[in-house]
Symmetry: C2
């Protein structure tokens, strides 16, 4: 035992993160496979593994109906995995940004305080404690608000329990719902819409941004509000653009189709909610099968982008998208460096961002190919009834830990389940550790040969 | 007139390329819309524009059947556009690589001779002349071989004409066929298969590689064959891997489906041919509608990659793919520079490659969204019968100037035709000019602000 803990102590942060997730997922899968955890007979282990991975990676894809198949014990296990998974991600990714730069020395420490945190923190322990406190406070507030909607419908006990479950699930961007139709029953309820969207957005913009905005409101500088860091401004503007742009496009695209016979108010809530939820939350307030192909294509894009760094959300992140656009813009202008909001980005960051995005695209492409192969081999495309989009949607949803689905999750064959499990795990843990690896100072000692150019045109 | 030609003389190479293509396309569209050009009444101008763009950009997508709808005059116009378009691309992209470096001075000139051409050329005129001669020689050889297959079936006049047309169309990777079912009628004919594949591959590996391989075979160095340049080795190995890998995967995937009842020989030819043709040629020897979804997904990938630089082929190019993989590999190892075949790549090249690939992906994504929107709005996805994949396939095929289709080309609405025309034009002319822009030495004089880092994880 002492030997194991000594071994664990020797792990790099990357390895520790992977071990943390693997252990929690295996324990969760074991617990969920117990007869105690589910009604209608015990769950097959692969379904337990799928559900535990989906919960721990805060994805929300479900092979069985969470509300009716799991007992209270099963549901609480899922809730615990969501909370442990969500906090683990937030803490680690904040640590990633915060601590790596401490290694650089006092100057690095000073830079991060000045540019990112603005309000200095004394230690990592304080930082983690404040993450936990903020999480708890927001989830409690969300639960109180949701209770106003759920208690009148479901009575005190169930209503309060449902309020807590959905508040945690929303803030952690997990997307698990206890209602079998997700939140379709509340599609035009302003309180539920606003609370859930608020929780999703707060849970998705990242802890450092929340902290900085709070500090900036609390302690305005003499002579006007303090300027936010580049990171926060980038996150806030990109998130706003994606939420608003997504909602407007969904409303316009669906106006002649699924929204045709809906009252304007209901269409407004549905469009806004689907735009917010696609960015890795995973609840839905409409059956996505009634959407058109272009709308689903747009949602695939929103899912792939995902939330912001240092949050529970997945995807390649808002900052990567913003940087990507900025880099393209500056390259096409013929400029060698990239400016955003009157700040010049470190040169290295461009290659790192592009590498991260392309690696994500490459892995996602390969896994999608695998999923299509195990699910659709033997059926000529013309006779498969359009399931192609279903599986592409499913793969992106899993990789970006969104949890939206066109309904094929329960139809996955065992190999398909394993691929989706891998997508969720890599999409969650892998992207972080890859970011960790490429953000690490590059070793300069590798072999260096004579330079030679080639054509890429 | 003198004023116009003076104006033309002042164009940058980029602008000249765009003007060359636009003028040829407009002239071609005008010619194809003449009553003289088509049977069954004159072609609507938009269809003439579509066909002219498809021919000039050597794509091969067709809104009408080339063999039955066009008269001999119409077909010869198409053939002329293919030849003018194909040579224009080859010449310009070789010029791009060759001449840009001359601007760098004698050292640059020396480097390109040493590393790329191996056999020095005296002037751009000589280079262009040798491109023309090689093109003509290969097309003539191809026509002679094809005549052996076509003359017995079609008689002397038609047979020889068809042999010339398909030889040019194949070497230019244009994909226009005079048979209404492309080359399905020759699916198990070894002579036609080998000749067309040979023409496609030669036309797709690029002029500089052909020239270097020829020179290396002709004049071996004392003490063994001369080593090929990094560029040629990268092109040859990547092409080989894609052709062989693609064929094996297609054969494996389709073995339980469309190949189930075929003789092994026929399946072999079909798998190999479809792997070769997807990399921007655009002929087909099987109805692609009988393929499965994973096979079509694989073909979308092969189409997006496309041929090699300095050729008539489209796509992001084999070298971009190879560099992309090499860059990812070195970044994940934590190395700051990228080595390929014991050569270190210039640092700039990494960012340039990634920028080109991502820009291509971004534009393609946006245009696909547009195409889906104009073609599929108003129909709930579930009722659209899987046309999603058809349009994604069509968009990638147009952008990479491949010309393969699942059959929706004639069903395009006018706005859809315009989007596909834009895709073909940008996929052909745009990628080259973008490459030109980002390969150009970056200006260092743009505003430079204080550096500030952000999180991308
Ligand atoms: K989720
Ligand atoms: K083509």
């Amino acid at each position: 035992m002492g030997r194991i803990s000594r071994r664990l102590g020797e792990l790099t942060p990357n390895q520790a993160l992977i071990v943390y997730y693997l252990l929690a997922i295996l324990l969760g899968a074991f617990a969920l496979s117990l007869p105690l955890a589910s009604r209608q007979g015990p769950l097959p282990f692969i379904d337990g593994l799928f559900t535990a991975t989906s919960a721990m990676c805060v994805t929300g894809l479900a092979v069985v109906d969470t509300g009716s198949r799991f007992t209270l014990f099963g549901q609480l296990t899922i809730l615990l995995l969501i909370q442990v998974g969500g906090l683990g991600i937030t803490t680690f990714s904040v640590y990633l940004f915060f601590y790596l730069r401490q290694g650089v020395g006092m100057r690095g420490r000073w830079i991060i305080h000045e540019t990112l945190l603005h309000t200095p923190v004394d230690s990592l322990r304080d930082l983690v404690r404040s993450i936990f406190k903020l999480t708890l406070a927001i989830e409690a507030a969300g639960a109180v608000l949701l209770a106003f909607a759920f208690v009148p419908r479901l009575g005190w006990t169930t209503g309060v329990y449902y309020a807590i479950f959905h508040s945690v699930s929303a803030f952690c961007n997990a997307g698990f719902a206890l209602f079998s139709d997700s939140l379709i029953g509340f599609r035009d309820d302003p309180l539920v819409n606003l609370t859930i969207m608020g929780l999703i957005i707060l849970g998705g913009i990242g802890f450092l941004v929340m902290r900085e905005v709070l500090a900036s409101c609390r302690r305005p500088r003499a002579g006007g509000r303090r300027r936010l860091s580049l990171h926060s401004r980038l996150v806030l503007w990109t998130s706003l653009a994606l939420v608003a742009g997504g909602a407007v496009l969904i409303a316009l695209l669906e106006a002649p189709a699924s929204f045709r016979q809906l009252p304007a108010g209901e269409a407004f809530w549905i469009a806004l909610f689907q735009s917010v939820t696609a960015r890795t939350a995973g609840f839905n307030t409409i059956d996505l099968n009634s959407f058109e192909a272009p709308t689903l294509f747009l949602m695939i894009f929103l899912m792939f982008v995902g939330a912001s760094p240092g949050s529970c959300g997945g995807g390649i992140k808002t900052t990567s998208l913003a940087l990507f656009v900025a880099i393209l813009h500056s390259r096409l202008k013929g400029s060698a460096h990239t400016n955003v909001f009157r700040r010049t980005l470190p040169d290295e960051l461009a290659t790192k961002t592009l590498t991260l995005v392309m690696l994500a695209a490459l892995f996602l492409g390969a896994a999608t190919f695998g999923l299509l192969t195990v699910q659709m081999t033997g059926i000529p495309f013309r006779e498969s009834g359009g399931l192609f989009l279903d599986y592409v949607f499913e793969a992106v949803s899993a990789f970006a830990t969104v949890g939206l689905s066109l309904g094929v999750t329960p139809q996955l064959v065992p190999a398909g389940k394993l691929i989706v499990i891998l997508l969720m795990f890599v999409g969650r843990v892998g992207l972080l550790t890859v970011a960790f690896t490429i953000i690490r100072r590059s070793r300069e000692d590798a072999v260096r040969y004579a330079e030679e150019n080639i054509m890429i045109g």
